[in-house]
């Protein structure tokens, strides 16, 4: 399963998308995120399964007359 990874460097900053990873479950996804994206000292780090992200708008599809 693909997970998208988000992080911020300081409390109060906006969450920023920093990458993705493959993991079989939520628990390992959280561990892998910490190990894989450790180039910065984060304030917090989040993972979300890609298939749980809901597209709210897409410019290409809107220009083509909607999905």
């Amino acid at each position: 399963m693909v997970y998208e990874v988000f992080a911020r460097k300081a409390r109060g900053e906006a969450l920023r998308h920093i990458g993705n990873l493959n993991a079989p479950d939520d628990a390992l996804a959280a561990v892998y995120a910490f190990n894989t994206y450790d180039e910065e000292k984060w304030f917090d780090l989040w993972v979300v399964p890609r298939d749980r992200m809901i597209e709210a708008y897409n410019a290409d599809r809107a220009a083509a007359g909607g999905a």
Binding site: P24, A27, V31, Y32, N35
Partner: protein
């Protein structure tokens, strides 16, 4: 206990000689164990079941080697030369946990080491949290903080393997012989362990650390179900070498090839200092 014996020690030479020797031995046990555990993790940077697990293995290896380096450096306070300790000892002089002597054969065995052995070292390290020996007390929190991710990694993988019919047999096969060896590793309620507890250097020893460890790994062991066959929950300490934390059945030490790699023998000539 007198106020004198419980006074904080900023340096090793402020500890009573008997206590000082026991602290030095325990730091070396922890350092060697972490050096070897790091080497075992490193063996899976390539060949783990998924790329991310290899990255996690690399990260844990780096943590363990960092901890070992820090612990070896602490031995300076005891009059040791950390460079000699790190590079000039034979396999028979290593004090690493006996279950680390040989590399794990398969990934379930690595996961068992992650949960049981990394967990045991953390239990032993945590016993220094309120230590009267200040240099150790000051360093232990940082090490324990890094260990949280090793714990999370082990727990997540253990659950995954325990839930897979094709993996649970191998996992049980790795865990069953390992548990009694780790239990014995904590040692008897006697000798230098007793000295350390009485001197308020650690807050637990032997059977108390065994109890803490069993409590810690109970959720994982429970996943293996009723069929788990654990022999020797009450360790036999006949012939137990206290300084090396090694029983008669544990063998002499890590294999020489492992230690050659740990010491960095092959390219020692390039250590130009």
């Amino acid at each position: 206990m007198s106020a004198e014996t419980t006074a904080e020690a900023q340096r090793a030479d402020e500890l009573e000689p008997e206590v000082r020797g026991a602290v030095r031995d325990l730091i070396l046990v922890l350092a060697d164990s972490k050096r070897l555990l790091g080497t075992r993790y490193a063996g899976w940077i390539l060949g783990a079941p998924e790329l991310e697990a290899g990255i996690a293995a690399a990260s844990m290896a780096q943590d363990e080697w960092g901890h070992a380096r820090l612990l070896y450096a602490m031995l300076k306070d005891f009059g040791e030369d950390p460079s000699v300790i790190e590079h000039e000892r034979s396999a028979a002089e290593y004090r690493a946990m006996p279950v680390l002597d040989a590399p794990p054969d398969n990934w379930p065995e690595m996961v068992a080491l992650n949960v049981l052995v990394d967990g045991a070292l953390t239990v032993q390290l945590r016993a220094f949290r309120d230590s009267r020996y200040v240099p150790m007390r000051q360093r232990v929190e940082k090490l324990l903080e890094e260990e949280q991710f090793h714990t999370a990694h082990g727990a997540a993988w253990f659950r995954r393997l325990a839930g897979a019919p094709e993996a649970v047999v191998a996992l049980r096969g790795a865990v069953e012989p390992m548990v009694p060896r780790v239990l014995r590793w904590f040692g008897a309620d006697a000798g230098s362990a007793l000295v350390l507890e009485d001197a308020d250097v650690v807050d637990g020893q032997g059977s108390e650390l065994r109890r803490r460890w069993l409590e810690r790994v109970a959720p994982q062991l429970a996943l293996l179900g009723e069929g788990l066959e654990l022999a020797g929950l009450e360790p036999d300490f006949a012939g137990f070498d206290e300084a090396r934390r090694r029983g008669q059945e544990d063998g002499d030490g890590p294999d020489e090839e492992t230690i050659r790699r740990v010491r960095g023998d092959r390219n020692r000539a390039f250590l130009m200092d």
